[in-house]
Symmetry: D4
Subunit: 221 residues, 8 copies
């Protein structure tokens, strides 16, 4: 047959502590189905990202039933690691309701790797009291993922308030100059708050992986 | 002679309430000198912008003595309108020390047109307490000019706190993605705070002119 | 349940004189429905933006009947403030027929906040007589919103003719280099007329909010 | 010797009616000197562009004396064609004083090819009366070159007023988004006036060549 | 009723020799229908651009029958000017088959204004013999419109071969860096052939209007 | 006096564990001198960044003697925190010799805050054996800062080899598309290795601050 | 009839050793059908690129049966050259499964011209062992085509390992800054490995043509 | 001492057939001197690129005397490989005189590796006869490097005429949209001639390395 099998990076978890994810966006339904079947046969866990509701609906029913799917996040989980003890390792903060799917992608990635998280949604700086209200609580998290589009000012404000690891995820929410997320990305890269890091636009999965690196470093101390 | 005279838009103040400024950046020393001499002969006021200290130093001594020059702002004034009664019409807020020259250009433009202003410098959101400390005082100004580079998060924070007219001036301070001021410009254009307007990067003169339009509208009520 | 409630910035009007708007573009039908129901239960007014006709049509009939919807503007209103006395506070000027939806978004935002406006549509500079014909009438408005795409030359021409507050809204009408509205945005930012301000591309809502800030400053004098 | 001789496109004038120009910007002083000497020996005419005053000053005195040099335009002429009868073929219109050097480059190129031109400087749309004042006179020119930076609104206004061939030259005058001339270029490309053409930023030479093409077509009718 | 009538620039033809076109891309079917009906009632000619086949099909049958529609060009004509005597005023040259619709838009615009044209399609420089084969014939046209996407090298080659007025139309044909037409646009703007002018990407209408300006200047000699 | 004092964010270290740095790039010599004097009088530590050798040389001798200056890094230190026990917390990896100054800025920032680091310079992937040679040693560091320009492929390779926190610093080394560092920045943002984070181009200071956030989280476990 | 025939560059193979391909993306179904029929009548071979499955399905059945179509590659072949003896001339290496269609376009282009190739799929550097595993085998190919999106680090790694001709094809796989393939393109252009060349984003056809040029040069030695 | 030694990729020639070059642009004079001394002591050959005449002049006289320096190319050679028999392997073609330094960098790189080349300078397509004149001669070279800025149309024309390996080097010659070389780069990437490859802007060294890869493949046949 023409199309080669998906070639998993089998020892990635052993090597870097992060499981390979299956990026479904540019894969066909039948490619995804055969990847799921392979994993089932090998009794391997599997994490699927960027699988739209429409694509999920096209999967065969038996395949669907193998997957713990969440439409908002566009992620599917087959198996997952046991939760680590300390359940609130990471705070996930969003500026607006529209950033929700990216935030959920991050949270599901953490969950799949056995890490808990707590959500602080809809606390953008246009109503500054919302983030100030939770400032003290946020300080208790060693890692804070800030999901924000448009001006992404929330990342700078959070970065100036608390000492935690700050991982910004600029989002593509918005129109005009904000379309596609460039304004948010450049805003977090030029943040006036020191030590704010970022990942690619809309990359909730990547932010969670960066959080896992930070948490793993802590637990191995 | 080859080079034509500078052709002033003589009735601009009568027409739109703003005096024409002489943009010195791309003019030669001798062009500026002849413009100043013409104004003196006609007993006209004159406002010069973007005149570097180096260029000012090259002007003839007699020309220099006609000009009230300020190096930080790069502006020169010959004559100015009497101060309007209410002396604190406009607040000029800056994020960092590096935004100073743009802020001063705005303040000098206001002064030349007879409007007062008060400065709130160095109140960037990395140390959020600085802007919160002056929030109540800022509410008393009908127009607030926010001068900020890099992520320009200050414009969004101020816009979310107070009801005044907000005119942002993104600045070209910074390096990497912030170089040239694009990140700051896009940040203020996509501000999550409603009704924040902006002018071109580093355009302190334009921000002051916009403020004058807003103030003129108020005084003519 | 997974998805959190919409968290309104409840005291925004008290704080800055502008109501929070619900940006419907990236919200699902069911999210919008539950936001409308909540508002109804709390007897709160509500302003919905960027709701396409298609999305509106998918709302339940009872929800639809609660909303004063206008398809051209893509806005929905539930309740609104009584009109302020002076009915023609703001002029809304457009260059071409294609800028209509952005202009209507601005006008509906003003209406929701109790401010009147008068429209001057289709007066682009390719037929310069059209804007010159209304120049004297335009001078009577303290705030002029100029909606224009492509070269957006109208904003500069209006800014050079009258002393009012000028808020430009570059639009994404056009193709080639004009696609997406960047050429119009950069044109208004580099306007040769002094004191022209701008908001994001297609941001009729933001222009109206800026107008409200200017009008509020006037009325509180 | 390492460096090859300059290889002129010897029959360009016979082929397309335009002489090759020597673009001096990226040539060394000695390269220019040997090009001039070669032309002198062959009794060929020569047109030099983008030669800064500094570079001209470094040329040997005997070479300098062969060149009719103009510093504002940065052009040098050795020989030129006799003036064609109708002396005012082309109007050269500029928005501001800063566009002068580009305008002069165009005028000198025309002169070298035997075509006259008339200058209309400093008639930008911020003071609209300036261009309206000369509208009737402009209509008499079959070709109008419009030199303008920043928003370049002048090109659209002129294009909407008169039927002549309109060749826009966007200039790099300006700062912020106008820096380098991109805003002006995109503005003229998206002009709302039909049939406005453009050449590269600051390309006064190219605009004149386009004018020569249009004039040649007329005279060969 | 909410939506204002389309406001034609009624004396454009008298003023600049070009008729206003109705840009249908961003107009609704009912807007187009009412524009056509108005023109019919006033016995005015009408030229419609960027009307897709899909949109044309949605028009009412009686409206359709009033329009001379051509799908490739996306243009509709109601009435047109009598053909001027010299039938081959303009050559329209294309690089590839994919540039056809833009070329046809130009040709139909010329036709509507009474000017003839001759097509030279599919003569891109990858097979250089194709353009060399027609070089002598092309020299006889006073205006040559070159329609080309991707590297748009054809415009430079033609510009270097013949003395005619050259109006390039970069097209959005292509993918990768050529997507949207920017590479073609920048290529023609930096053409090594002197006096090549350009209009916006895909703007066949604009190129024809520029040609009309050049032809009108010739005929009025 | 016109120019306001530098307004330090006095409790930044208490709040977020990072000291404010003085960005000298856009400050004058006299501004820097007065900042140093103030710090000395208050017996405060001080960290100066982006101070070129030229600017340092212009400082008064007594001021110079107060500063531990390093030209490669462009940083100055007045006082610093005692070294934390574990001396090799952070690895700083560079692709080429030209990335040195950015790497040193990071290392000096760490040193000022009491954290040690070890350098792995000149291990770019064009000679892949260089990074593979140190792979096992790198795994022992909880934080790895990767400084790389051009294609910045090193960040992806390191991210795929080891589980540590990876903070990339794209650098502006290079020419053509690599000029200014955009290619390197986009490369690390789209890294195929999961969980690689980045800071602004050339921002060695920011990378070190991000490392401090990660280390602080570990030590507070 | 309005639309002209497709004008083939008939002697391209004789001239440059590469057959003209029919780029179907912007052609209509009926245009493609008539091109196929013409080729059949003339007994010419034909290579069709960028023909989506959807477009292929719309072709008439008799036309379909003439074409050897492959959906993944989007290519169709009518006739082809006999395979040259040495069957493994070119290695085609991909970073991820999503790059498959571009890789297949290259392989089919080679096949059509009589050259063999061997595939090495899914060997991206996030799991570096995958490319190191095949390093020795890759050295045996005189030409290696590297297909990679996102950071395209694979091209630099391969370029640093082996002496073969390296032709990179950046792909548009990815989102955020990687969307459209610009990050991959700039990465390969700034590759730290010497002598890596590139073609346009997603241009598998072009990479194969470049490989054919290199192979032809070898065989003619 | 603070600054580490330059760490050569010692077996690069054995591995990939290309010697490492020392990129002098971002190195200090003393760094270069110590690199030269090290090479001398080890009796290693050395190739230095991007060394301006100014930087070369600052080297110590004894160091200078070790280097075969050429100012136009900015390259220095210490030792070189014996010339391979066939002396005219590569043709180097340039569009204009301004592309000379890039062409020379390529030629010197070839020379250092033992490969000959022949120059065809100043044959840009504005005077098409110049390239047609040498077409037959060019066909004899297995590799042709085309150095061209601005519209870089020469690469497409050459690619359409001859079957050789074509390596384009876009140059940064030019102003306006051509400034920095982006227009030339995008032009060659979207070349209508099949199988044209490119390297980074101004990267004469890289083009020569690509040529060496192609030649090595031929000679090892």
């Amino acid at each position: 047959m023409l199309v080669p099998e998906f070639k998993p990076d089998t020892n990635r978890w052993q090597r870097i502590g992060i499981e390979e994810a299956v990026f479904c966006y540019s894969k066909t339904v039948s490619q995804i189905e055969s990847i799921v079947i392979d994993a089932k046969e090998d009794q391997r866990n599997l994490f699927l990202t960027r699988m739209s509701n429409a694509k999920y609906s096209e999967l065969e029913g038996t395949i669907q039933s193998l997957i713990d799917y969440e439409a908002v996040a566009g992620t599917g989980i087959i198996g997952e690691r046991p939760v680590v003890e300390e359940s609130h390792d990471v705070a996930v903060v969003t500026a607006g309701t529209s950033d929700l799917s990216v935030a959920r992608e991050a949270e599901r990635t953490l969950q799949y790797h056995g890490f808990g998280s707590k959500s602080f949604y809809d606390v953008g700086v246009a109503g500054l009291w919302r983030i100030l209200e939770v400032e003290q609580e946020l300080r208790r998290f060693s890692v804070v993922i800030v999901v924000a589009g448009m001006d992404a000012a929330l990342a700078s404000v959070v970065g100036g308030l608390i000492p935690s690891v700050i991982i910004a995820v600029p989002t593509s929410v918005g129109y005009g100059v904000a379309e596609g997320g460039r304004s948010a990305l450049e805003s977090v890269l030029s943040s006036c708050a020191p030590g704010v890091t970022t990942v690619n636009i809309d990359n909730g999965y990547g932010a969670a992986c960066a959080a896992i690196r930070a948490l793993s470093a802590q637990y191995s101390q």
